[in-house]
């Protein structure tokens, strides 16, 4: 049992297989779709959806390391996302549109995110757990204020528009001839950069939660007092978990900036992004890492494709009182909110938890 050497797939997945056949299938389908997205779903819009899914998988998974594995409810996660995005945005806007600026900006964003996460972690040493969530909310809004006020640096409310390195420009051509009818331009390069980075980061997080360190995080979630009695300095672990999650979120933010060639407070810092992440993690299944990945797919797809469906429904309900307003495409969050509440009540382990429970 424990002595056998794990195979290559197990090593890649850090020994944490999804667990059920249906789940394996879903995840394989997701992986294949994302891998071949430019060819399966040609078009700017589809590619943007696929890229957003990749980025939000990283973001939601990194939040799960905090919420699901360690049991810490923080509302400052978008702040770290924003730090990475602003790092790249500012570097590209103020310096040059080169890879050096991208790396410098991402590194600065990650460093800032880690530093702030460590400070928040150390503060949590002194306060009650209840306060912690509230404090993170306040800190996140402070960051939002800073981003809108430091206009010279961040572009304020308007944000920053910038150029990316040449190979990522839409006008760039990788090959003169289309492949499978798809022209390999800078958009495709950008997509594969994001896809590869997201896949690597996801596998890294899978490794982290299945490492000795990750097991201690679960121990802290289960019984912090006992974890201390075993000799684990839980503050150190909580702080490190926060710092790792913050670094991952910042990297996701850097990818977001490269994708959009723009960054502003609404895209990466607003509370609605935080709400999205929360929905992804909880609906997908806390503490499973695969769950948040599925949750990210559900949420991003809903954002893009539920709205047109709702618009059609809303139109067909014209004449009824209130109903058209409830099914207005802008109200999609209402229905996801309801779904969220129902999941917390009835399937606290989310989609993945439910699937695993059925199988096991």
């Amino acid at each position: 049992m424990s002595g056998a050497a794990p195979g290559p797939l197990d090593r890649l997945l850090s020994g944490d297989r999804p667990g059920t056949r249906l789940l394996n299938l879903l995840l394989l389908l997701l992986l294949a779709s994302l891998l071949l997205a430019p060819f399966l779903f040609p078009g700017t819009r589809s590619l943007a959806v696929a890229a957003r899914i990749c980025i939000f998988i990283v973001l939601a998974a990194s939040y799960d390391v905090m919420l699901g594995y360690t049991g810490i409810a923080s509302f400052a996660h978008t702040m770290f996302f924003g730090m990475g995005a602003y790092g790249v945005a500012i570097a590209l806007a103020k310096l040059s549109a080169g890879w050096g600026a991208v790396l410098l900006g991402a590194a600065a964003g990650v460093a800032l995110a880690v530093a702030v996460a460590v400070l928040i972690g150390l503060l949590s040493l002194r306060v009650r757990a209840v306060f912690f969530s509230m404090i993170t909310l306040a800190v996140a809004s402070f960051a939002l204020i800073l981003a809108t006020q430091l206009r010279d640096l961040t572009g304020g409310e308007d944000g920053l528009t910038f150029s990316v390195p040449d190979v990522l420009q839409p006008s760039f051509r990788l090959l003169a001839e289309p492949v499978l009818g798809v022209r390999l331009d800078g958009r495709i390069v950008t997509y594969y950069l994001i896809f590869a980075a997201a896949l690597a980061l996801f596998l890294l997080m899978l490794r982290i939660v299945n490492s000795p360190f990750g097991r201690v995080l679960q121990a802290i979630r289960e019984n912090e007092f006992r974890a201390e009695a075993l000799g684990y300095r839980t503050v150190v672990y909580r702080t490190l978990a926060g710092a790792l999650a913050a670094a991952m979120a910042a990297l996701a933010g850097a990818l977001m900036a490269l994708l959009l060639r723009y960054n502003g407070p609404d895209v990466t810092l607003s509370f609605s992004v935080m709400v999205d992440i929360l929905l992804m993690v909880v609906i997908g299944g806390m503490g499973t890492l695969y769950g948040p990945a599925l949750g990210a797919v559900v949420l991003v797809m809903a954002e893009y494709y539920l709205q047109p469906a709702m618009a059609a429904l809303s139109g067909s309900l014209a004449g009824w009182p209130l109903l058209p307003a409830l099914f207005d495409p802008d109200r999609w969050l209402l229905w996801l909110g309801l779904l969220f509440v129902l999941v917390v009540y009835f399937f606290p382990a989310g989609i993945v938890g439910k699937l695993r429970e059925r199988a096991g």
């Binding site: 049991g71 009650r128 306040a138 402070f142 204020i145 802008d330 909110g337 309801l338 969220f340 509440v341």
Partner: protein
């Protein structure tokens, strides 16, 4: 609170001294009339914040429920004010103190009732199932907040709505060379009335005695024969009704209602609860005024830093006293 008073040791005076100290420290930075204007404005803002935060501090303290949905009731109150004052535009714009006041009273009453009723439903449907599970409380109330905000938008639309004050409260008058807005005095008066009422309720009535006892030890209150769930509902409804009341006052103060009015205030309210200490009405009152004053002083001296300054204040208080200025209950 009387019991608190007797227990209070010398170090608590440090917490009380904070208010006058901050007020006086800013005086040299500005003219007296400016200072007076800002101080009155700070008090007025503090009172409105107190209305919104008072209920939440009791809900936290008594029920140990960590709700992030309080802002939804503020939003509800604010939008009701738009509807009621819109319907009573004749009264609101009339050149008569009495009619203006009646319009305001009608809006306040409507908000009080509607937010209270919504709070009742919220407690029965959502909160009741998650007693004793903090993480689920946080998640479920965030979900409730999302739904509530969306419903408000479905009813009143997504665009910000203007909300003019009733005619008589629009102007200001000069006191000791300082311009004082009439409306701010109304806010201060209402805040003081609510504070006094809560204070009397908590310290002079059996229900108040039960609430204070329940904050300390719920199980024992039940073992003495009291049905605590009713008390919970009562406190929750009172808290949400007050949030609605505060929502009306704040919306009129801003003269503009946006869908995010509640969630914006939630952050300030959390800051107040953290500074004041959970479960203490007196602490909440002091912290609310503190936040109001700091926001106004800093807003004048360095406008960009106003909200940031309260967050910095909160951090400073936490480093000084990790449980807030006036903590209640055994840890």
């Amino acid at each position: 609170m009387s019991a608190e008073l007797l227990r209070r040791n010398a170090s608590d005076w440090g917490a009380y001294a904070l208010l006058p100290l901050i007020a006086l420290a800013t005086l040299p930075a500005m003219s007296f009339s400016t200072w007076l204007t800002l101080t009155v404005a700070g008090f007025a803002m503090g009172m409105m914040l107190f209305l919104m935060a008072a209920g939440l501090t009791l809900i936290f303290g008594l029920m140990q429920v960590f709700t992030f949905a309080h802002g939804a009731f503020i939003t509800l109150g604010a939008y009701l004010a738009v509807s009621v004052l819109g319907a009573l535009a004749g009264w609101s714009n009339a050149d008569s103190w009495a009619l203006n006041l009646a319009a305001l009273a009608a809006a306040l009453l409507a908000a009080l009732m509607a937010s209270g009723a919504a709070g009742y439903v919220f407690e029965r449907v959502i909160i009741r199932r998650v007693y004793g599970a903090p993480l689920r409380q946080i998640l479920i109330t965030v979900g409730g907040l999302i739904i509530a905000e969306q419903l408000v938008v479905a009813v009143w639309g997504a665009n910000p709505l203007p909300l003019p004050k009733p005619a008589a409260f629009r102007g200001s008058f000069i006191l000791a060379g300082a311009a004082i807005e009439t409306y701010r005095l109304i806010a201060v008066a209402l805040g003081l009335v609510v504070y006094a009422a809560l204070h009397l309720l908590l310290n002079r009535t059996r229900v108040g005695l039960l609430v204070r006892a329940g904050v300390e030890n719920l199980e024992m209150v039940e073992a003495l024969g009291y049905r605590i769930r009713r008390l919970f509902i009562g406190v929750f409804v009172t808290g949400t009704a007050l949030a609605g009341l505060g929502g009306v006052m704040w919306a009129l103060y801003q003269e503009l209602v946006t869908r995010s009015i509640g969630s914006e205030m939630t952050i300030l309210i959390f800051i107040i609860l953290i500074i004041g200490g959970l479960g203490s009405i007196g602490g909440c009152f002091t912290a609310a005024i503190l936040v109001g004053l700091v926001t106004n002083y800093v807003g004048f001296l360095a406008p960009k830093l106003a909200l940031g300054s309260t967050i910095v204040l909160m951090m400073a208080v936490l480093l000084w006293r990790p449980r807030g200025l006036f903590p209640v209950g055994a840890e």
